[in-house]
Amino acid sequence: MTINLLYFAWVREKIGKSTETVDLPSSVRTIADLVQWLVARGPEYADAFARPEVVRAAIDRAHVKTSAEIGAAREIAFFPPVTGG
């Protein structure tokens, strides 16, 4: 499955890019699976997800938990807790 990944703030800085398109194996079913799969791709991902509890995710622009199923998502974003306002 082809999917767009977006990274923001220090997640983006650590990974070194703001967006990429990836082909996910069918074994990657949840956000937690996706994090594990990304971490295996290289040290920059391992660094960004070193403390997975402080990284938040959104599927198709809606906040989700790491247990969320990816399903037919087109866009998944990873970012730190928000600090606007």
């Binding site: 977006l6 928000v82 606007g84 306002g85």
Partner: protein, 152 residues
């Protein structure tokens, strides 16, 4: 009933006037303006950069606004959030809640800010006088602030 994500500044009087022009059913207007402070953790701040998630930002702000309109009898609401590079003293965010009576306007404005702070995908990076750029940590207090409103 109107949300903007923009780099430009906003004008308080103009925004309130746009909401209230020609209306006589409003008795109470509460505005909240958030501004960039010149100090953080004892360091002098020279600038602040606001990154956001285009598309998601607008939909989250609209969701927050719809939630407030469902909870309080409001005549009008407005949310403006800036992004890009800002200087100390600059405006960051504006929230307006207008109602017939003051309690609804005060509560809704506080609610909008609490929810916006916990859900709108913005991230602040502060540059200090020493030239160092640091991402601002989320405040635990902001999560607690949102809890007092119950299930969203």
């Amino acid at each position: 009933m109107s949300v903007s994500v923009q780099s430009e500044d906003f004008d308080l009087t103009a925004e309130v006037r746009r909401l209230t022009a020609g209306r006589v059913d409003i008795g109470a207007i509460v505005t909240f303006t958030g501004t960039v402070r010149g100090e953080a953790k004892g360091q002098t701040i020279t600038s602040m950069t606001l990154e956001h998630y285009p598309g998601m930002t607008e939909s989250e702000l609209a969701r927050v606004e719809a939630e407030a309109l469902a909870r309080w009898p409001l005549q009008a609401t407005r949310i403006i959030h800036r992004y890009g590079e800002l200087r100390p003293g600059d405006n960051i965010v504006l929230v307006i809640a207008a109602s017939a009576h003051r309690q609804a306007a005060f509560e809704a404005a506080a609610f909008l800010m609490d929810y916006l702070k916990s859900r709108a995908p913005f991230w602040k990076k502060e540059t200090t006088a020493a030239g160092k750029g640091d991402w601002v940590d989320a405040r635990e207090g902001d999560d607690r602030a949102v809890e007092r409103w119950g299930k969203g």
